[in-house]
């Protein structure tokens, strides 16, 4: 083979290499572009009112829950898990917080740790049922969801529960929420990217057999992931309660779908593994929030908004889901 021939071939290779890296870059940018597009679209159709001061404040409050729970979802989805109990779980953490607040013995300040603990406990149950009894996470969390919503429904069946929420207005300041957001994001980022726990979860998502054979206590790590998302749901449960001031049978409803949509819109792999990135979930959470907020401002019926999100979810999964696996078989 002549030298010229080899040079030509090397040239062909370089072109192919550039094409491949271009494709990868594009996939990384897509979720950001999606967020910008959503913002741009609603700025136009709402005549700019999505960006006025009042609505920006609304966006902060609305994104608070989704972003914080999305941080927890990173730990669950990165190992290939799934949690369908989130909304109902938030409902009962609110119940717990309300119970502490309205009790005459306990100091109301305990409401925050109480709702976080309840969340962690229920998360541990979900994770525990999943790994110890070998029930798929989807099924285990679905069962837990019905148990939780059953409890909330029973307690609130006679009448909705109210708290004297004027005593908790300090928790509704934008500053407090922004601070909590920053702390949760920073802690989530460090734990997910720079600790053994985060790396273990990605390994479990990549291949659980390999993870086991590499000395990772897979069951413990998985349960811990569900405990974390539960705790974060509890945290948002408290803040939601102090903002709304009441609990009824539908409190928290729809949170799991918002999170699922956020995961998908942000380009977070549904199967978990090595490609899982915290920022993907956050971008997705922001996109979902802006989308919901924008559609509401635009005057769309809330029930139709749910339908739109479902359609969007199918569309994104349909376009991005990796079907190449197993193609070699036939």
């Amino acid at each position: 083979m002549s030298n010229i021939g080899i040079q030509q071939k090397v040239g062909v290779r370089q072109n192919l290499l550039q094409d491949a890296s271009k494709r990868n870059k594009l996939n990384g940018i897509l979720p950001f572009a999606g967020l910008l597009l959503v913002i741009l679209f609603f700025t136009i159709v709402t005549g700019g009112s999505i960006l006025d001061a009042q609505n920006l404040n609304n966006l902060l409050h609305q994104s608070f829950t989704v972003v914080i729970v999305a941080v927890g979802a990173v730990f669950v989805y990165s190992h290939g898990g799934m949690d369908m109990s989130l909304g109902a779980l938030q409902g009962i953490t609110q119940l717990g917080a309300a119970w502490v607040i309205t009790s005459s013995i306990l100091p109301p300040g305990l409401a925050i740790p109480a709702s976080i603990l309840i969340g962690m406990l229920v998360g541990t149950i979900t994770g525990g049922v999943h790994v110890l009894m070998g029930v798929p996470a989807f099924v285990a969390s679905l069962c837990v969801r019905y148990i939780c919503s059953g409890i909330t429904y029973t307690v609130t069946s006679k009448q909705d529960i109210y708290i004297p929420y004027t005593e908790f207005t300090q928790y509704n300041s934008g500053v407090i929420k922004a601070l909590v957001l920053i702390v949760v994001l920073a802690a989530g980022y460090i734990i997910f990217e720079y600790t053994r726990f985060g790396k273990n979860l990605k390994a479990i998502g990549g291949n659980i057999t390999v993870a086991k054979q590499s000395g990772i206590a897979t069951k413990l790590n998985i349960v811990l992931a569900y405990a974390i998302i539960g705790g974060l749901v509890g945290l948002t449960g408290f803040f939601t309660l102090t903002r709304v001031g009441m609990i009824n049978a539908s409190s928290g409803q729809g949170l799991e779908l918002n999170i699922l949509t956020a995961i998908v819109l942000g380009g977070f792999p549904l199967t978990g593994g090595s490609a899982s990135r915290l920022h993907s979930a956050i971008i997705g959470a922001l996109t979902v929030t802006v989308l919901t907020n924008g559609l509401t401002l635009w005057g769309i019926d809330p029930y139709i908004i749910g339908g739109i999100k479902g359609l969007l979810f199918i569309l994104i999964v349909g376009v991005t889901y990796d079907r190449s696996k197993g193609k070699l078989v036939l």
Binding site: Y194, R196, N207, Q213, S214, G215, G273
Partner: protein, 500 residues
């Protein structure tokens, strides 16, 4: 005699991420050809055959079949154009019957009033199986009841049922014993006599010499040369594959066979899995202990039990140093053990993760300080392994699935070396690896031995057991049948006697 061109490829390119599996590949297959395709792991053989068979589509380039443009979209499509392939890995689908496996993708042929005519399907399947000389396989049994070899034969039947003009066989013979091979060679002969063509991929150069009438050599995705029958010789093929002259022997040169008296690991009366029963052994410091036998002799189960993956039904595995009992992989790893599974892509490597993530996976505990693991420390460990193992990759963050088989195996080894393992359990460490990487692995094992590490090498390859082990234990039906110490006079015959 001028042969007629059956398939012609022009300028085929295919890349996986940044890795170029094929670059401008031009190959011509003529009627009556039995064309061998050879090259080291990662040279692009399997990629090329997958493209011809319709399992992958090329990034660029064209193909012509029987003089017409050929662009298969799936393997079923290719098969309808009379191009069939038997794949390297297990290609049968579990939990369905033999005949459903043979006609998978074509079940509509047996539609009768909207239902599947199972009787007709089974009788056609039986006819095909008879035609290829495997009438002992029942079409109506579930595929899971067959052994590995018979499943491969079912795949052959699937490839043959619509009488392909071109049959592609991708490293199938390694999975076949005598019965399967005879059957396969008969099919190849028949294809040849009917003026059809076979594309035959194998690592076994002796086999290629015998079967093929021409070989094409691939290296790093380029076609290097095509040798006609009269030009073929093993030495020439080997040097074209590697790009340099290879020395004949890559095993250990010494016949010393000594190791220290210190016992590092004891297996006491272990019973595990369906066959392994009351098995005991001792592993010494600086010893390479070879474990040989047939696939179902219990030797693979032994490896899993030693590393704590399977719990023994009775008996125990004890680390002599601190009398610790190995209960699970975690205790094993804490006591500096490492395990290389025989099923690399499923059990030893996260193929969709980066080289770095895989290499540091068993060392995360050592890498953390104040509970944090920085990317810098991970990178340092990885770079060191890439360097010392000479892993061919574009960077430490390249995905493992883009690497060739040999380089993947190097990553698996590197993972345990990074964890500073003192005791290594290697289950078929060189399975499906080409000559060049094999030589590296053997040299590495020798170095490890000389630095006082201990190795249990479970292998189905007798030359490797004889060539590398200080001591060989042969298992049959879950029990020890023979034990040999390293010697120049050891032959494969002597070992086989105890295996069967």
């Amino acid at each position: 005699m001028q042969k007629i061109t059956l398939l012609e490829t022009k300028g085929i390119c295919k890349s996986f991420g940044p890795t170029h599996a094929l670059t401008n590949v031009d190959i011509t297959i003529r009627r009556g050809d039995i064309l061998g395709l050879i090259g080291e792991n990662g040279s692009g053989k399997s990629t090329f055959s997958a493209i011809v068979a319709g399992a992958l589509s090329p990034d660029s380039g064209t193909m012509q079949l029987r003089g017409e443009p050929y662009k298969p979209s799936t393997m079923v499509h290719a098969q309808s154009l009379n191009v069939s392939m038997v794949v390297q890995e297990m290609g049968t689908l579990p939990r369905i019957t033999v005949s459903e496996n043979i006609f998978v993708g074509n079940l509509h042929r047996f539609k009768k009033n909207g239902f599947l005519d199972i009787r007709k399907m089974n009788s056609e399947a039986a006819a095909i199986l008879k035609e290829i000389g495997a009438e002992d396989i029942q079409p109506e049994v579930f595929i899971d009841q067959l052994n590995f070899e018979d499943r491969k034969i079912v795949e052959l039947a699937r490839a043959m049922y619509n009488k392909p003009d071109l049959l592609i066989i991708d490293e199938t013979t390694t999975a076949l014993a005598q019965k399967g091979r005879t059957l396969l060679y008969r099919i190849i002969e028949k294809m040849n006599s009917e003026n059809k063509a076979v594309l035959f991929i194998s690592h076994d150069l002796d086999e290629l010499m015998e079967v093929c009438n021409a070989v094409t050599v691939l290296r790093d995705g380029f076609v290097i040369d095509t040798l006609e029958k009269d030009q073929m010789s093993i030495g020439k093929m080997r040097s074209l594959m590697v790009g340099r002259e290879l020395q004949g022997n890559y095993y250990r040169a010494d016949y010393d066979g000594s190791y220290e008296d210190e016992v590092v690991l004891e297996v006491n009366q272990v019973t595990s899995g369906p066959v392994l029963e009351n098995f005991s052994m001792k592993l010494h410091k600086g010893e390479i202990l070879g474990i040989g036998g047939l696939a179902n002799s219990g030797m693979h189960e032994l490896g899993r039990v030693i590393f704590g993956i399977d719990k023994p039904i009775t008996g125990e595995v004890i680390l002599s140093k601190n009398k610790t009992r190995v209960k699970n992989p975690l205790t094993a790893i804490r006591n500096k053990m490492g395990y290389v599974s025989k099923d690399r892509d499923k059990e030893a490597l996260i193929i969709n993760a980066t080289i770095r993530e895989n290499i540091v996976l068993s060392s995360l505990r050592k890498l953390q300080s104040l509970l944090l693991i920085t990317a810098g420390r991970e990178k340092a460990v990885t770079e060191q392994q890439i360097e010392s193992m000479s892993i061919k990759c574009s960077s430490d963050t390249q995905l493992c699935r883009e690497l060739s088989g040999g380089n993947k195996q190097k990553v698996v080894f590197a993972k345990w070396l990074a964890a500073q393992s003192e005791i290594l359990i290697l289950d078929c460490p060189t399975r499906g690896i080409d000559v060049g990487v094999k030589a590296n692995m053997y040299a590495l094992m020798n170095d490890l031995k000389n630095s006082g590490r201990s190795i249990v090498m479970i292998s189905e390859e007798l030359p490797e057991l004889i060539g590398m082990s200080d001591r060989i234990m042969i298992l049959k039906d879950g029990a020890l049948t023979g034990e040999f110490t390293r010697s120049e006079n050891l032959s494969e015959h002597m070992l086989i006697e105890y295996m069967i």
